[in-house]
Symmetry: C2
Subunit: 421 residues, 2 copies
């Protein structure tokens, strides 16, 4: 057989199933869909996914944290050390239809291509939907893949209390997805995650595919500045201890640091509150958050150190007390070079425009990279918008991405015609 011409993508299968899954948890009042982890809507999405896996004749495994894995065995019946594709199907509130779901459904579409061609791979293929990637109801996010990769024990994960007071393990049992398989027991030979970019770069540069070679490290801090409230009209500038001005100075400092980093460091102050927040009172307190990201750990540390030094200096200058609290810290992840190179070569062979790039957001692939060689493929997001009903990727872009995935898979695990009985 000729893999390239015989094992082909069923684009309708991909698009129709994305649309169908997108209707589960449909949010009639505010638009989009809300399918938060381990709710009834999540159960409905999982049920649909399992039904599709069974229709493709896959071996379905549910592990103890609720990760759903569909496996296409090889001719011998082995499911060991599969090539694994996947992502997640839980969502944020009022989400788009593509975040996570695209990678899972495209994985099924790859297997569908094998089924349609009546052939089997020479190594098993798996499709996984990880539990609770979004972390809306239960912290931390990317939990299913974190447990899968051994970064969090099953017991601790199941004991997690939700924002609604519920215990994760109870909710998992309630929806019937408390499986028996030990997470990580199915050891992937490699992991591929196809995903929408959730950022504006591919669209802005009018490119079709992103070859994701790494994923930024993330450092989140909360900074509390305690100054002194005083009358705006009677307090000379030199006698002020203005917590708001210190916050503004931090903002300007970090923005300059990031802007001068040749685009590699990102710095965001997304949240800031002043007290008492009155027009004619110098703020006594400012609470802000800092989001620092860099694909290079040493550079991320350098940014953290530069911030720390700046805080010490400005606290002294302004006569304020500055306290910091680390909220989140993820090291950068470098994806597998040979996988990324193969994605790049395949993209080029298929005639798509592309660039190598860094993932700005967190993904399950960053956890799976601890277990196996991993990489990601991005397709453009219109306006860079995600976590929003307006999230959109053109159908042709979705099909292109799935074709890159299919081609990489067939190159890696081959295909041979089934012996007709």
């Amino acid at each position: 057989m000729n893999i390239t011409t015989d094992v082909v993508l069923d684009a309708d299968y991909l698009l129709n199933r994305l649309a169908e899954l997108g209707q589960v948890g449909d949010d009639l009042s505010e638009g989009g869909r809300t399918r938060i982890a381990l709710t009834n809507a999540d159960k409905a999405g999982r049920d649909l996914l399992c039904q599709w896996m069974q229709a493709l004749g896959l071996v379905v495994r549910i592990d103890q944290i609720g990760n759903v894995i569909g496996l296409l065995p090889i001719a011998s019946g082995s499911i060991n050390e599969p090539l694994m594709m996947g992502s997640h199907i839980d969502t944020v509130r009022h989400a788009g239809a593509l975040d996570g779901c695209y990678g899972v459904v495209a994985g099924l579409a790859v297997i569908k291509a094998y089924r349609d061609a009546g052939c089997l791979p020479e190594r098993p293929i798996a499709v996984v939907a990880f539990t609770n990637e979004e972390g809306v109801r239960y912290q931390p996010d990317m939990m299913g893949s974190l447990v899968y990769a051994g970064g969090l024990s099953v017991e601790d994960a199941l004991a997690t209390k939700g924002t609604d007071g519920s215990r994760l393990g109870d909710e998992l049992a309630r929806i019937g997805y408390d499986g028996a398989v030990k997470p990580g027991q199915i050891q992937p030979a490699e992991y591929l995650e196809l995903h929408i970019e959730q950022g504006p770069i591919l669209e802005a540069e009018q490119l079709q595919i992103g070859v994701v070679e790494n994923l930024q490290g993330i450092s989140w801090q909360k900074i509390t500045i305690s100054g002194q409230a005083n009358h705006a009209g009677t307090t000379p500038m030199y006698m002020r201890h203005d917590a708001g001005w210190v916050a503004a100075s931090i903002h300007v400092f970090l923005n300059r640091l990031a802007t001068e980093s040749d685009g590699r460091t990102l710095a965001t102050i997304g949240s800031l509150t002043l007290e008492p927040n009155l027009i004619n009172v110098i703020p006594r307190k400012a609470i802000l958050t800092v989001d620092l990201r860099d694909p290079d750990e040493l550079r991320l540390q350098a940014a953290e150190h530069a911030l720390k030094a700046f805080l010490q200096e400005i606290a002294q200058t302004a006569g304020v007390v500055v306290e910091t609290e680390q909220l989140v810290r993820f090291n950068p992840v470098k994806f597998d070079d040979s996988l990324a190179n193969q994605i790049e070569a395949t993209t080029e062979a298929l005639g798509f425009t592309y660039r190598r790039m860094t993932s700005g957001a967190g993904h399950d692939a960053q956890m799976m990279a601890r277990l196996a060689p991993s990489a990601m493929i991005f397709v453009p997001s219109k306006g860079g918008v995600s976590h929003n009903p307006r999230e959109h990727t053109d159908a042709q872009d979705l099909i292109n991405g799935a074709n890159v995935l299919l081609s990489v898979v067939t190159q890696r695990v081959g295909a041979h015609a089934l012996i007709q009985p």
Copy 2:
């Protein structure tokens, strides 16, 4: 008679009445007192004040906006063109006992000194308590003196709607202070306002008296910055339209402008809110207030122009829309030179340490300066704190200030013993 030795301050009268008035509207739950304009507590304060005026044998006049004026006639019975002293007795929420009340009660103490000495001035003396100086419930603030000076019509003032939906005129009638006298009908020959500094300068410089020669102009603006919300992890710095960063840049710009002005311009950003105010989302909107003050009108205008130019420039740089709204604009007020000089000479003659200074806050004197030569006398505020239960001035400082006022008054209007019947 010898004015200096015969017409002397009764310090207990001053301090006891300040304490007694301070208990009206006592706020048992949160400390301080709350005597907001035209509430029952304000009525109780006014009633007490009128009672004290009557006990001193003053002619009491209530005008159409509720200003309370007590007049000490001269021997002929005339009350025309008095030397007027005063301030206000309404308060903010959880106020100190001194703001406003000090100037009114000290005025009564000056008259008490004449009564105790059994003498009369050669020109009439008046003490006034202006309605609604604080502007908590009804805008604008300094309303009673504004109407008195002809800056706002009685009709418009009475029609003012309060934050609680009430009409000022109705509330004034309800508490029985809708007088018949036309505001401004009693034309003062000069106006003197003794007040706590409400700022930290006298305390910091360890001075006893502030000779207030002018009052800053005030420019309040609301600035709304509309940028674009985006993912903090996936949006390169050069593609951002970060409303929060623009707000921070304005803050840093204005602070530098003020700091480099040799202490004459003050700039404060007291209030700032971001939307959506999430750690990993670039703010789409920032709303902030700017409080600019300068004792010189041309310099204040220069600061406003510099801000405007900066906003135009940064809006272009950041790709955001910046809208401004003027909330308040008062021109600076220069007090009467000869009055200020006389206060200074008197302060020196009494052996008090002092400085000439600018009032950072607004006061009724700035309105009265439109009608008659006016000036103010400041005493130290501990920690510069006001509008707060912790507002404090040492008793000796309160007595010193009243003695300066008394001495200036006796020099200007003289005193002659009453002919004993």
